[in-house]
Point group: C2
Chain length 414, copies 2
Amino acid sequence: MSVKAANREAFERLRRARPMWTTVRLAREALGLPPMTLLHAGPPIAWERMCGPMRGAIVAHILYEGWAASVEDAQALAASGDVAFAPCHSRGAVGPMTGVISPSLPVIVVEDRVNGATACSYIGEGSGVQAKFGGFTPEVIGRLRWIRDVLAPAFEMALERDGPLDLRDLMAQALAMGDEMHMRNAAATCLQIKALAAPLAAATDASTLEAILTFMTRENDQFFLTWAMAAAKAAARAIDGLPGCTVVSAMARNGVEFGIRVAGLGDRWFTAPAPVVDGSFFPGFGAADANPDIGDSAIMETWGLGGMAMAASAAVLRIVGGASFADARETTRRMAEICVDVNPAFAIGALDWEGTPTGIDIRRVVETGIVPAINTAIAHRQFGVGRMIGAGIGTPPLQPFVDALVAFGESVPR
Amino acid sequence: MSVKAANREAFERLRRARPMWTTVRLAREALGLPPMTLLHAGPPIAWERMCGPMRGAIVAHILYEGWAASVEDAQALAASGDVAFAPCHSRGAVGPMTGVISPSLPVIVVEDRVNGATACSYIGEGSGVQAKFGGFTPEVIGRLRWIRDVLAPAFEMALERDGPLDLRDLMAQALAMGDEMHMRNAAATCLQIKALAAPLAAATDASTLEAILTFMTRENDQFFLTWAMAAAKAAARAIDGLPGCTVVSAMARNGVEFGIRVAGLGDRWFTAPAPVVDGSFFPGFGAADANPDIGDSAIMETWGLGGMAMAASAAVLRIVGGASFADARETTRRMAEICVDVNPAFAIGALDWEGTPTGIDIRRVVETGIVPAINTAIAHRQFGVGRMIGAGIGTPPLQPFVDALVAFGESVPR
């Protein structure tokens, strides 16, 4: 198969994908996570090289799992070599920001009913100090337990009662409602609440339901993000290992390095230092507080959303600090230059329902010098803070795309 | 005060308006509706001249009120002169389509906390055969009773518990999510469900809650419309009777006539035959089945939404049958030619957050020959069908604007 044919096949798999949210399970069960193992965002990284927020999230999850009882002990355990670390992507999972997943964390399970892949992500924690931003206060740990003991079982029962939720359909609607699905999931979150409210009412008692609905509805406009990410990862898994294919199958950051994987090159990572995100900051914070780019959430751009779909979302410009709506349209048009095709399943109203550019071809990235535009949140860099401090547009380094193309060239049999 | 100053004052009142949904009451109480009185959409009209769907809605409400027990008796009663008919607008109410409101129908009560006016509308019935489209089957009457006995009290309790709902804020968000608030209220309905879900869970038992959430969430994307209309009417009431003002304070259709009221001319109607709506029809229906334009919903355009805000909603073009998104932007720009100013409270993302054209000046309409573009649903014309059969863009006749301007000229003291 020619590269062109392989890339067309990759695009078709990405286009046809139909990820359904089927259930919620503990990570040990859904991902086969061994004891004393923690997953994290981005390419592989050892404890010693981890950034502040990721170390914080590791501590949070060691406390949550009960492997240690104090922050100091948790740090000592993490440094001892007794805890194994691996990328979420190594097990078909994705996590925004630090992306830490521990064995008894509940994960949402998403199955692509067309291509057959499964992917998982966790349930977002709302706003304020969060484990995913590296927070480890008692409130953070308590909220993780509430998610495990109350929210996750309710979701599981609601899905059992009402059947799986069609995420592609929901995301297509949300795209027509001003979300680009990475930094704006306000419409998708509303649609998710709309879809779940009645089944949740049937599946649980009134006071639990009130607590769940309050959690889902108050200051939590990004609640749907991890569902969007699990859907995108399920879609992207369908191209993992596709021979002769130069389409990107993952882009992710661990807060120190930015890395990509390419369909035809399997699970090999190509990395470079993570960029600092050009963004707008919450009051009281600035670029000096910003951790370099972090999180698996660039899986959204891998599936043609986020920065690729900028023209769908005038509203996201206010969040990531873009200029005019004409620039947003221009971003989407520029992204089309590095993608295989546009995906009609994700149509943009303001472009007269043209699809989103999908299937990033590393050859085109290297040829044009255009790198994917990645919308993203910005984490505070300091250990123990555990907060989002802004959002912006990440510009990944070109080098991993160049390195991957060189490796691809070397991999072709002669 | 000059006309220019009066119109600026009218615009400022429309801009400042902050309608809040405060409660639900029976119409007899909220609107002081006397016994044996029915309100209807549009300018005044007698039973003899009413169109098929409006007669059907009158029958539905006579049955609902128990004033007659059969369709034949209800028609005889309506023709007897023993039932009084008056426009919704005569009592600060608005109703989409036939707009029929009877004394024991629950109405949502909206108060503009800035200008001080109150307005009411009813609670939508969902999809299928509906009283508001002229249906009067036992299912329709049963649903009206369920709304009165179950839904309305639950809403009342939720609002009592959680305080009033800020409709302007919700509508501004929905506008950024692809609604134009007349023929597309999909985002607003989601936002409404999001706002109400937790307080409803606290206010009612689980099975009632499930029934309510199912009703609000299933095939009911226009659920919010009557809230938008009540909000717009509350805002528009602030300019009723403003001396020297040539801004339109109401546009409404009774299915036979299209009529307008003008702020400086009080409650006087200027009418002409209602146009046939240029629209797209549901499968199996066509222009021959269409009733002429009907409903008070053009109050949305009176407040700068609906057709005025076309550029906010690529999605509505699919519903009303528009062409390209460029045309939608052009419609909004054209509407700006007949309005006093643009309202920053309702900002359109695709126009880089320019506000919606607001405050239709009859002088500019007559000067330019540009009439307001009105997005609207289309009712089946036949008595007893009671269904929506399509949607489109209504082009009102110019004559009422001309007549109103002549009357305005005559009203000015010399």
